[in-house]
Amino acid sequence: MRKLIWLGLMAISVVCFSGEESIRLKDGPGKELVMNSCATCHSLDYIQMNSVFMNKKQWEATVNKMVKTFKAPVDEKDIPAIVEYLTNFYGVRQ
C-alpha cells in the first residue's frame, strides 16, 4: 500500500524530493487514512511541524481549508476521522 502511494507520488511530482520517506506519523487509529489523504500535494511533516498547539476546532479548520481552498481529494465522510487522529496525536484537547 505504502509503495503504491509513493509510486503514485513520483509520477505526479516533477522533481524528486528525497528525504520524506523518513517521516513517521504516530501510530493510532486514523493514521493510514491521514497518510493516504494528506500526502498527495505535500509531505506529511506539515502535520508534525504544526504541533502541538492546535485544538480540535483548529485542526478541523485546517482540514477544511485543505478540502475547500486547496481542493484536497478527501471524502467528506472521512473528515471527522482525520480530525480525530490529528487532534489525538498532534493536537491539544480543550
Binding site: S13, F17, S18, Q48, M49, A72
Partner: protein, 385 residues
C-alpha cells in the same frame, strides 16, 4: 538528530515542540545543509551562523515554496511573456534579450519571507513554523521591471502588475500568482534578477530569473518568473485576496496596496523595522572583566537604519551601537556594541533598531492570524562569573 541550537539563534526557546522534534539539517541538491521545515513543498531555513556575513551565500540561502510542482527551467528555452489588458504591445523575451537589450543594474537587498519568525507567535498559528532564518541578504543583478513595461507600453488604466512563475500546483491548488501596484512596478528599484551574489540564481531561489521587490516581503519576489500581466482590475487570486493579509491599522505602513485593501484587512507590503542579535548567545557564560561584544543585524523597508540601541540591564538604560558599512538602504546593516563585564551576575541584553522615519521595534508582540511581522525586541540572558 535535533538541530543544534546555535543554528537557531534562540528560536528553540519559542518554537512549537513538533518543529523541534521534526526539523533536521538536510541539503537540497546544490545547497548546503539547511534547517528542513518541510520536504515537499521544500521549505528550508538558513542557520543563523551564516548571518555573520553581510551577503548570505547562495548555497545557504533559505528556500520557500507553497506548491510542490517545481520544474527545472532550461535557460535556453525560457521565455518571459508580457501581456495583460493594460499593455499596448505584448512581448516575449528570452534571457539573451534581457541581458542585451536592457540596462543592467545591481542592487543589494534583503529578501525576507513574510512569515519569518512565525514559529515565535504566541499563541502559535498554523503555517510554516519559521524561526529567525527565513531571510537572506544578497546582491542582485538584472534589469528594471520598469524598462520592460515601458517597452511593452502601459495604458493609462493600468492598475496592477500580475506576476507568475513556472512552479505550480500538484492537483488543483490555486497557483501561486501575485500582483503589485503599478506604481511599485515602475519603481526603479524593482528588478528582474538573473544573478545573485555574482552567480546565476540557484534553482531553489528562482533560476533563471526572479522578481526582486526591495523593501517588500518576499511573497512578491516571484521565482522562475514566466509571465507578467499589466491589468486594469484588482487581481483576485487566492494568494492575493485571502492569503498574505494583515489586519488593517495594526502595523505601520507607508506603502499601501490600496486596490487590494478591504474594510478589515490589507495585503502585507513593507518589511517592518527589525534586528537580530547574533552575539552573545542565550545562557552564554563570561568571566568577570571580560570584554563582551554584542552584535548583529538591523534592517527595514528601505528608509534606512538610523540607530540600534543596546541595553545590558534588561531595558533600563540604552546605549547606541556602532553601525557597520552601509551597503544601500535595502540591505541589512551590521551593528556592534562592546562593554566590559565588571560585575558578576546575570545580564539581560536587548537590542532595538530605529529607522530614519522613526519606526521602531515593539516590546509586545502584535499578534495576527497569519503570523507576520514579528519584530519583538529580543532578550538574551548571559551570566558573568
Amino acid at each position: 538528530s535535533a538541530v543544534d541550537p546555535r543554528l537557531l539563534g534562540g528560536a528553540e526557546k519559542e518554537l512549537p515542540s513538533g518543529v523541534l522534534e521534526e526539523q533536521v539539517l538536510e541539503a537540497l541538491p546544490g545547497k548546503k545543509p539547511l534547517i528542513k521545515k518541510t520536504y515537499r513543498a521544500p521549505n528550508y531555513e538558513t542557520p543563523v551562523t551564516y548571518f555573520e556575513e553581510i551577503f548570505t551565500p547562495n548555497e545557504a540561502f533559505f528556500v520557500r515554496y507553497h506548491l510542490s510542482n517545481i520544474p527545472m527551467v532550461d535557460e535556453k528555452t525560457w521565455r518571459l511573456r508580457i501581456g495583460g489588458d493594460a499593455v499596448e504591445r505584448p512581448l516575449e523575451l528570452s534571457l539573451d534579450d534581457l541581458k542585451k537589450n536592457f540596462e543592467q543594474v545591481e542592487i543589494v537587498a534583503l529578501c525576507q519571507c513574510s512569515g519569518n519568525r512565525r514559529g515565535l507567535m504566541k499563541p502559535h498559528v498554523p503555517g510554516v513554523q519559521w524561526g529567525y532564518g527565513a531571510m537572506g541578504n544578497a546582491k542582485w543583478k538584472g534589469v528594471r521591471l520598469k524598462d520592460i513595461l515601458n517597452k511593452a507600453g502601459i495604458k493609462a488604466n493600468a492598475l496592477e502588475v500580475v506576476l507568475n512563475g513556472a512552479d505550480g500546483p500538484v492537483l488543483n491548488e490555486p497557483d501561486f500568482v501575485k500582483s503589485i501596484p503599478i506604481w511599485k512596478a515602475l519603481d526603479e528599484n524593482v528588478i528582474l534578477a538573473y544573478e545573485m551574489n555574482d552567480q546565476p540564481l540557484p534553482h531553489w531561489n528562482g533560476f533563471p530569473v526572479r522578481v526582486v521587490v526591495p523593501g517588500w516581503t518576499a511573497t512578491y519576489w516571484i521565482k522562475h518568473i514566466v509571465s507578467i500581466d499589466v491589468v486594469s482590475q484588482p487581481y483576485k487570486g487566492f494568494w492575493m485576496a485571502t492569503a498574505y493579509r494583515l489586519p488593517l491599522g495594526k502595523f505601520p505602513m507607508v506603502e499601501r496596496f490600496t486596490s487590494q485593501e478591504t474594510a478589515v484587512n490589507t495585503p502585507i507590503t513593507e518589511i517592518v523595522v527589525n534586528s537580530l542579535m547574533l552575539h552573545p548567545r542565550d545562557k552564554q557564560i563570561f568571566r568577570r572583566g571580560q570584554v563582551i561584544e554584542v552584535k548583529g543585524l538591523a534592517w527595514d523597508a528601505g528608509y534606512g537604519i538610523k540607530m540600534v540601541e543596546v541595553s545590558i540591564d534588561g531595558g533600563k538604560t540604552w546605549r547606541e551601537a556602532e553601525l557597520g558599512k552601509d551597503y544601500g538602504r535595502f540591505s541589512w546593516r551590521q551593528w556592534k556594541y562592546t562593554f566590559k563585564a565588571d560585575k558578576k551576575g546575570k545580564y539581560v541584553i536587548m537590542a532595538k533598531a530605529t529607522n530614519r522615519i522613526g519606526q521602531t521595534q515593539t516590546f509586545e508582540l502584535i499578534w495576527n492570524p497569519a503570523g507576520y511581522h514579528h519584530n519583538v525586541v529580543q532578550r538574551v540572558e548571559i551570566n558573568v562569573v
